[in-house]
């Protein structure tokens, strides 16, 4: 059983004390004329409100202990993630649909596999924070893939059309761009995984240790989290690249304008 360690301050008093750092940041910005005071204040207030709101929402859903509510929240998170990722792929026809399906499918497959092989159980306290990590990461991957492909299909149009004119199918002509976009999407997480723990303790592990878990317990969960994010990146990246490329070609192997 996890027990919270004793801290010298409680609840809002803790937050108020930590806000000293915000005050110092404001003073630094003012002193150096960085003009970030307004943005800092907005960020501080927004994060406070948003996280308190999500905290209450999570308490409510955890108390319900209902698979339907859990799923509803995951779908809501996926929808927000889809809209956010679609902003990076504005040049892509049906960008929202591409982002939503990529993130949804990538996340669902990852979580589904982990529940199926009993790594996690489908209860709100587990699946919502884990799902949040998967969806958040899938959102970044989808956005990266979509933006990179849209840019490459524009800047490398000449090369793609040359390949089409030599008899390539649309998939053959866009293979280099698809490869590059998937590499770009996965390289950050692969590199992070390689160096994890050497520079700083990863977030999941830090949270668990702060909550009183033993380091070995925390490490096991952290390893699972890293593998999970790699899997989600691969599923989402593959789906996003396939769906994005389909938007740029007609069935007659022509690059749309």
């Amino acid at each position: 059983m996890i027990t919270l360690p004793e801290f010298p301050l409680d609840g809002l008093e803790r937050i108020g004390a930590a806000a000293i750092l915000i005050l110092i940041s404001l003073l630094i910005s003012r002193w150096r004329e960085a003009d970030l005071e307004k943005d800092l204040l907005i960020a501080t207030v927004r994060s406070f409100v948003q996280l308190i709101a999500i905290g209450y929402a999570l308490e409510f859903i955890f108390n319900l202990d209902s698979p339907l509510w859990t799923l509803t929240l995951l779908v809501f998170m996926t929808t927000i993630a889809g809209r956010t990722a679609a902003q990076r792929g504005k040049k892509i026809p049906h960008a929202q649909r591409v982002a939503l399906v990529s993130i949804g499918l990538g996340s669902a497959l990852t979580l589904g596999i982990l529940v199926a092989v009993n790594v996690f159980t489908f209860d709100p306290q587990t699946i919502i924070p884990v799902g949040g990590m998967v969806i958040g990461n899938s959102m970044s991957v989808a956005a990266l893939v979509m933006k990179r492909l849209a840019d490459d299909f524009h800047t490398q149009r000449g090369q793609i059309e040359t390949s089409l004119a030599l008899g390539a199918t649309s998939q053959q002509a866009s293979r280099p761009q698809l490869r590059t976009s998937l590499q770009n999407a996965m390289i950050p997480i692969v590199d992070t995984t390689k160096t994890t723990g050497l520079i700083k303790l990863p977030g999941a592990m830090t949270g668990m240790i702060l909550a009183g878990a033993s380091p070995m317990e925390a490490v096991q969960i952290q390893i699972v989290v890293l593998y999970m994010i790699i899997g989600a990146s691969a599923f989402t990246g593959l789906t996003a690249s396939y769906l994005t490329y389909r938007q740029f070609f007609t069935p007659a192997h022509q690059l749309v304008e």
Binding site: G158, Q159, T162, A165, Q172, P176
Partner: protein, 249 residues
């Protein structure tokens, strides 16, 4: 004789704007057909429609009497090759570029064939291992031509193939293309950007203006300063046709 390429009453619009209005002409097997006209007259659109990089309406463009929209598009593009104004090289060597079409079909182009193609475009066989990114404009354009010839096309569509080249490289490419036309009976549809080049290359010419065929016939006739099309064209030697403002009859 059956026309190699027949374009009939072709209307094409892009982004809601009409580009080609009722364009029609025939190109016989082994013919050189020049296409000239001011910028925006629809020349590139026409070539792209023949190659189906842009989808034409059905039954408006025929290859050997067959509607090109009924042919598998990858087969069409092997029979009707296209050389673009700016030659795009794929990463790798010249040989890898030339063998690109074969690689798409998962076959290997034998070295002898690569050398043969390099010689056909007047490039030394030593170029085979050169990094394609290191080529000059003229060399790249000739490699692009060799690459397209590797598919053994029956028709070659040339979209201002020499506009980015210096005069020496231009003459080299013109010479190569005319040699291929004479020796292999390759049908050429050639968009040119100068009257001077059009006169030099000869053959037949279609003059496009604002998406319509304004004149058609032998080069010597259409470009005759005393001929019936004098009002349509301005005859300054070497004038870039793209600089001409569109005129109507």
């Amino acid at each position: 004789m059956q026309a190699k390429i027949e374009v009939r009453d072709l209307h094409i619009a892009r982004r809601g704007q009409p580009i080609l209005h009722g364009v029609g002409f025939c190109v016989q097997p082994g013919e050189v057909m020049m296409l000239i006209g001011p910028s925006g007259s629809g020349k590139s659109t026409l070539l792209r429609a023949i190659n189906r990089l842009l989808e034409p309406p059905s039954n408006n463009i025929l290859l050997d009497g067959e509607d090109i929209t009924t042919l598998p598009v990858t087969e069409l593009r092997s029979r009707v090759g296209m050389v673009f104004q700016q030659a795009s090289m794929f990463p790798g060597s010249v040989a890898e570029n030339i063998a690109h079409a074969a690689a798409l079909k998962k076959t290997i182009l034998p070295p002898e064939r690569i050398y043969e193609l390099l010689e056909a475009v007047s490039l030394h066989t030593e170029f085979a291992l050169t990094d394609a990114a290191q080529l000059s404009g003229g060399e790249a354009q000739r490699v692009a031509l060799a690459r397209t010839l590797a598919t053994s096309p029956e028709v070659l569509l040339l979209d201002e193939p020499t506009s980015a080249l210096d005069p020496h490289a231009t003459r080299q490419v013109e010479k190569t293309l005319l040699h291929l036309n004479r020796e292999r009976g390759l049908t050429l549809i050639w968009v040119s950007h100068t009257i001077e080049q059009t006169r030099r290359v000869g053959g037949n010419v279609v003059l496009l203006n604002q998406g319509q065929v304004q004149a058609m016939g032998r080069v010597a006739e259409v470009l005759d300063p005393n001929g019936p099309y004098q009002k349509v064209l301005d005859f300054a030697a070497g004038e870039d046709i793209r600089e001409l403002s569109p005129q109507s009859h």
